[in-house]
Every structure is written in structure tokens, then in C-alpha cells.
């Protein structure tokens, strides 16, 4: 899928959770949201992007994607 779209979607999610001062909690929120609402092919693509480049991702998105990569849906 168009990676620019996925980057924007992920960063938008992070913008919401960024209000949380505990960044660990915030990253967990972003991860959980993506895990529970994104189709696997979208998750795979954004994780691949974060691992290969990731420059357009916000810090919180990056942190969340690290968590996402080590998670299965629960």
C-alpha cells in the first residue's frame, strides 16, 4: 500500500496518544490501536518501513512499532 498513507495514519494515531505524559503508556496505546484496527498487510508494511527507513515516523510511532513488531494480536 502507499507507504505515505500508512505513515500519516500511524503518526495521526500517535498525535492522539501523545497527550499522555508517560511515553511508555502512550506507545503502548499506539501499538494496541494499530494491532487491533489494522489489517496484517498494513502492519507488515509499516513495520518494514520503520525498520528500513522510518525517517517520516514520529518518535512515539517508532517506539510503538518496536512494540508492535514483538507482539501478536491479543
Amino acid at each position: 500500500m502507499k507507504i505515505e498513507r500508512l505513515i500519516k495514519m500511524a503518526n495521526d494515531i500517535s498525535d492522539f496518544f501523545n497527550a499522555e505524559s508517560d511515553k511508555e503508556l502512550a506507545a503502548e496505546g499506539v501499538k494496541k490501536h494499530i494491532l487491533r484496527s489494522w489489517d496484517p498487510r498494513m502492519r507488515k508494511e509499516i513495520i518494514a518501513y520503520s525498520q528500513q527507513d522510518g525517517s517520516a515516523l514520529s518518535d512515539l510511532t517508532k517506539a510503538a512499532l518496536v512494540k508492535l513488531n514483538s507482539n501478536k494480536i491479543s
Binding site: M1, K2, R5, K8, M9, D12, I13, D15, F16, N18, A19, E20, H33, R36, S37, W38, D39, P40, R41, M42, I73, S74
Partner: protein, 950 residues
Amino acid sequence: MSIIKEKDFGTPASTTNQLVTLEIDGFQVKAPAGTSIMRAAASIGIDIPKLCATDSIEPFGSCRLCVVQIEGGRGMPASCTTPVAEGLKVVTQNKRLADVRRGIMELYISDHPLDCLTCSANGDCELQDMAGAVGLREVRYNPQGKNHLHAAKDESNPYFSFDPSKCIVCSRCVRACEETQGTFALTIDGRGFDSKVSPSQNQSFISSECVSCGACIQACPTATLMEKSVIDHGQPEHAIITTCAYCGVGCSFRAEMKGEQVIRMVPNKDGKANHGHSCVKGRFAFGYATHKDRMLKPMIRASIKDKWQEVTWEEAINYAASELKRIQAKYGKDSIGGITSSRCTNEETYLVQKLIRAGFGNNNVDTCARVCHSPTGYGLKQTFGESSGTQDFDSVMKADVILVIGANPTDGHPVFGSQMKKRLRQGAKLIVVDPREIDLVRTPHVKADYHLKLRPSTNVALINALGHVVVTENLLDDAFINERCEIESFTKWKTFIAQERNSPEASEAITGVPASDIRAAARLYAKAGNAAIYYGLGVTEHSQGSTMVIGIANLAMATGNLGHDGAGVNPLRGQNNVQGSCDMGSFPHEYPGYRHVSDLETHKLFEAAWQAPLSPEPGLRIPNMFDAAMDKTFMGLYVEGEDIAQSDPDIQHVHAALRAMECVIVQDLFLNETAKFAHVFLPGSSFLEKNGTFTNAERRISPVRKVMSPKAGYQDWEVTQMLSNAMGYPMHYTHPSEIMDEIARLTPNFAGVSYQKIDQLGSIQWPCNDEAPEGTPIMHEHAFMRNNGKGLFMLTDYVATAERTTRKFPLILTTGRILSQYNVGAQTRRTENNVWHAEDRLEIHPHDAEDRGLKDNDWVGIKSRAGDTVLRALISERVQPGVVYTTFHFPESGANVITTDNSDWATNCPEYKVTAVQVTKVNQSSEWQEKYHAFSENQLDLLTQGMNDG
């Protein structure tokens, strides 16, 4: 099948519980205090003659036909305006009363055409009935005397006729327009013998303020105001109760029939959502169901460049299934999916999602709620634990303050809008949050106390500012918060919201709303007693739509405005079954009842019930489907009842995605815009042709009943079932009631729902289960529906939309809908409603128009970063400078050529309400419109060729 005539008790019911005992014609009667003698008599079967009284409006006491005598009392009081009292002894019939009544009737009839046998109301005329009831045998007055018998008819309204020669000036129509509808379009003009009913200032109905709700026709006791369909076809002979297929109010109607022909749709007095009221769409705009554009034959084609080929149902279904299977074999199991619609019944949407999950083997199912209220689902689920509004509609009658945010009830939800106006006329305060001056801001006898005219896209800054005032001015309901909410989340929110950046003063620069107004509005809301929030797509269709819903929930919890009458958080759903389609598991991440597909227990429950392996992974949302199509990973789509090629944003992208797919199956009434990109067309059935249920905005499950045979042979649920069987996943339902039984077995909030119970109660508000066997009008009364029963406060930082104005795109376009048309217009455009709105126009403020040298009706080009289109200008001060507005009911308007792919962070609900544009004067259609026209013409040619071959 129900009776044609409903019992008319003459005056409205009293709402008190205190009973008084009296005697009427020797019979003892108990009636609530405040009841009229007329109603009390009617309750024991004594029908006192009447003409100016009807139980939908307050008594008037003008015709004097209902006079009675009261023992010990003076004269002959009107029974409609005289309340019951303890110990009264009332006589309704004696010679003196009979003489008076006969005299009155004689006067009425002396100025009435005696054409009963050829009159359209013959058999349904109260004047005729009363003449019989009082025993009128002669009229002594000279028929050549002064009269109104030659008064000219007003035929200007497409749906009803006004014949003043038959008018008895009882004022029922005038009072219905005032009390029931709240438009005040009618009056009695002149005095004495010259008195006459007049729309506005002696105008025709069509040029008056009349909104064609039908309340006046409903109230008229004669043939003065009469549906043209009755004039043309005669009186109906049977009636079936069903539910309107338009907006989320879900009005109950009696389809009055002659055989299989609908003569008229009459609002059901016992309908709990509408209480006998209606709007122009539900009351009159049903002609689309029998429109010549209906597609009644299944069709297939290999490519959208090919002509259509009419085939049998079996061929069409087998072809569709084989294509879907071929695509799965070539591109993988997840390469196909489907879209349901809020225009479908609960049972239909349930079957579509079941087909996709169990038959297709993936969760690629979505619904049009994606583009309207998906943020409501998310925001209210997070905070309250359930994806639904909290109240019934009647709750508004207990509200002291009404806060309307991003909704236009008088246009979008007209029947509820009338109920809201009734409460406002009773004295409730009103706060409107809207960039545009909607009718509710200033309408007869209603004026908003505050109109917070914010800039589009700044909702969250505004709701935060309201919350800030509540917290910093200590307007919190501490007892509610402590008892009912998660304290840790509240403490965090309180700290967040109290920050200076959330103050009205800081927000003013963002919202454009004076801080003093925000402070005053917050105080009004918080101190009201009962304060209710009603909101619409002006909340959800933003990049922060879900954040705003959460902000609304925070505000209601902080002030304790939940769990009781007169309060609550109330999303006004756009289409009739938005709530229901979401309830039925139409989202790609949720099973019916909003349970996540990864939830192990639920997963096992559905796998066992459906006897199929199910995926625990969320599927694609609608916009993701389009992206995946462009990526060649999503190549087959089954669309039931939805027109994504018109309704979805950034339409050129949608069209490209549809072109990229190898099989698009459309099941619809018409060859809609999406069908022009389709390979299989399966004819749909209208709401008049099928059984099922709709669930309205107040969670009310109401019956949809077949009043005529499906024109193409099958009800929609049967078509889905056939497709499923052809796909190799067997379904063997014989009636939608069996589908509802399955829903009830698998969904805790529907556990007590059955067709039998719906028929018995008329309708049911879910949750309906062992704890609430007759349903739940108000939710969260004692605990929220989250696992721990506590409400959750969440932080709602304002994040500016990415859609910014620049010198190149200096205006913000926002979109909405109008009373007479409905969404993509597929239904209403095929009715006489076009009389009121035949094209979409661009509203622009006079200052912006002057800057561009624009006049009313000029053609204007509207250009955004996504595309451009051309509309005619409507110069209006309803919009503020810097903001332009249009509706989206006509495909050729291309409103969604302009809208962008920005969407809500949580749900991908499109940001329809905020598009930066430039507007310029032009003299020709846009390039897109030229291409659309050519494509559309070509597709209609391919259809005609196919039909000619067939």
C-alpha cells in the same frame, strides 16, 4: 394487518399519575388529572362529537360540537377544553345538546360542497361522520347565499392539494403546523366570514415556509388538505406498520395500501420514535420504490467496457461466486471483501458480515458508518463502554439545556428536530456549536442562547475550553465522578484540561469564538440541571472526530449529565440503520455486539455457531480496500446497498480503485454510480418489499414489514444467502426472524430480542436481555458498560488538521445535507422532492462573493488539492466569511472530487467537513465533470444495449 383508522381520543394524554374519578353518562371513569372530559369519555368508548379537536394537538374549543352538560355547572362547556375533576357528573347526550350540535353542523354544511360521493375523503371525513352522528337531515339556509364554495384550489405542492372550498376553518392544520412541526407556516387570515387558512402571507403552499411534513394533512378533518395519491387512487383498504428507510430517527409508519400499491405513508401515532409525526421524505418520498429506473434483472459482464448482459439469478450468482473464488485462488484469501449499508436491515447486514467472515474466510467487511459515525463507535465505546447514544428521543422533553454540536436536526433529523423545538418553546435553553447558522439558531419562537460559530476543524479546542471552564470554575459533579468514573483517569484529565492552553481565552485564537461566550455557554450547560448533548457529522467527520466524541463524553461525565432523563450524549445517526449496521458486526475488527475479532471467547463462540474457521485478524476498512486495490492485493468486492463511487471522499481515487478490481458485485435498487464500475449487478429490494428490522439512533429496533412483493423476485437477505451457498458456505434461513433469533443467541445485548417481542411491544431499545426484558430507554443509569462499570476520562489534545488554508486555497469548504434530499440522493432524486432542491449549490458569504465578483446563480469553480468541480453560487450569510458550504446529493456535482483523503486518526472516517479550496467565477463545467458525463453516458449506453439484447 392493521385497521385503517386509528382511535382519536380528541385531546393529548395527560402526563400525570394522579387519578380522579368522575361519572360520564352514568359510567364511572378514572382518568389522570388534567385529562379532558372528551378524552376520559373516549377511554370508555363514549365518543363525543367533535371537529376542531384531535389528540395530536392541544384543545382549542372553537367548533363547540363537543359541548356537554355538567351536573351543577352552568351552560354547556366544551368537553375538549374542560378537564376532569373528582366527582363530576357529565352528560354527553340529551336533547338540548343534540339541538345545539345539529345547529352547528347545519351551519358548517351550509357552506360546504355536497359532493360526498365524488369527494376524495369519502369514507374518511370527520365532517361527514359528524353530520351522521348528530342526525343532520336538512340544511335550512339558502345555498345561494354568501359562501366559499368556489374558492380556488392550491395544487402547488407536488404531494398534496389544498381545497379551501372544503375548509371548515377548525384551525387543526394551523395548530399542527405550530405544535407538532414547529414551523408556523400556516395562519388564519382575515376575520369572521372572511377567515381562511393561509400559508405564510397569502402565498401558495409551495412558495410558503411549509416544509411538507404532512402534519396539517394528518390533522385535517375533511378533504381540504389531501394527498394527491388518494385523490388519484381512492381510499386505501388495508394498512401495514413498518419503519421509514430514511434518516436515523426511524419513524414508524402505516403503509396504507390498495392491494400491493402504496397509496400513502401515514405516520404511526403509536410509533415511539415519532409519535405520529413525519417529514417530507418519509411521508411522501416513497415513489422511488416503483420508479422506472429500478433495475429488476440480474446482469453480468466481463469488463466495465462491455455491455451488460441480462441473465437469470442462478447465472448471476454462480458467475459472481466463481469470480470471487477465482480471485481468491489467484491473489489469496484476503483479496476479496464486502461493504454493507446502513440502508439495509439488521438481518441483511448480519448476513453479509457472516458471509464474509465465514464464507470468504476473512474480516474484510465494512459499512458506510465508516464515513459517518465510526468515531462515535470508537469514542463512546472507550469512555462509556458501549458504541451507542445514551437516551431515548423523549428524553429531550426533560432537558433544561440542549447543546447541539455539528448537527442540523431540522434538516437531517426533522421529526426529532420538531420534538426538540417543542421543548425549546417550552423554555429549555439552547447552545448551538456550528460554523454555519443552521435553522435552529433562529426559528419561530426559538432562538439559541449562544451560537458558538467556530471555525471548521476546531471542535476539539472548543470542547476542551468548555471542559476547562467546568473544571476551573468548579462546576464539576463530584458525587457522580467519584461514584461512577475511574478516578485516576479523571485526575489526569482534570490536570490536563485545567492547563492554560485549554482556556477559552487561549482557544479563541483557534476557534474564533469569543472566550466570554464559551465561558457563558459552559456555565449554562454545567449548571442546567438536565443538560443534553446532541451531535452529528459535524463532530465525527474530522481528523479529530474520535477525539471530539471523547471530549463530549468527558464533558457529560464531568457534569454528571448521564444516566438519567433529560441528559446524555446523543449521536444523531445519518441513515436509518447506522446504529444497527454497526451493532451487527459490520466493522472489520468487530463481531456483532462490538466484540473484537481477536477476543478468544467470542471467536470460539462464532466459530462454533457458524461452523467455520474464522480469522482473528482485523480486516480492511473501506479506504484501506481502495488502497489495497491500487496495490493489487484486493481485487474483488461485494457491495450491498451502498454507493461508494459517489459518497466516499477523494472520489477520483475511489474510481481508480474500482477500475483496478477484477470483480465488483453491486446489489442495489438502481444502476448507481458504483454499479457503473461493476461486473455483476444483483437487483435489490426496497424497504417496502422485505421483512427485517432497523435500529434507530436511540437503539430502537423497529419492524420493517413487506407490503409488496419484491419487484425482482427476492428480498436482499435471500440474495446474500444465495451468494453464500454458491460460495460453498451453506445458509438455510427461511425468514429473517430466524436470522434475528441467531443474532439474539450470539449477542448478549440482543438476547431478549425476537420478532414476537417486537410485534408485541412495537419496538425495543437494546440492551434487551434478562436484566432488561423490555429494553433500555436510558443507558448507564447505575453503571457504565465498561468491564469495571466505571466511566473513563481520556485526554483530548487539540491537533490542528493537516488541511490548511493557503493563498492558493484560502477558503474552507464544509458539506452537509438538506431536508428534502437524502445522502447520495439515489432515492429522493427519483421523487418530486427535486421541486425543492434540484441541484447542489455552493453557499458563499457576501464578502467572499464580492471579493470574487460573484453574484447569485453564477457558475463557480471550486478547486482543492484533490480536484475541482463547478457549481452555482448561492450567496448567503448563513456561512461565515472564509467558509463555503455545499450539499452532496447529486453525483454530477462532484462534491467528493474536492474532498481529500484526510481522515479521523482512530477510524479513518473522512474529514468531509474541512477542505481548503479556492472559488472562482467560471463559465464551463470542470474537466472532471466533462469526463464524468462522458463515462456516465457510456455506461447508460452499455446498459441500454444489454437490455435491448435481453
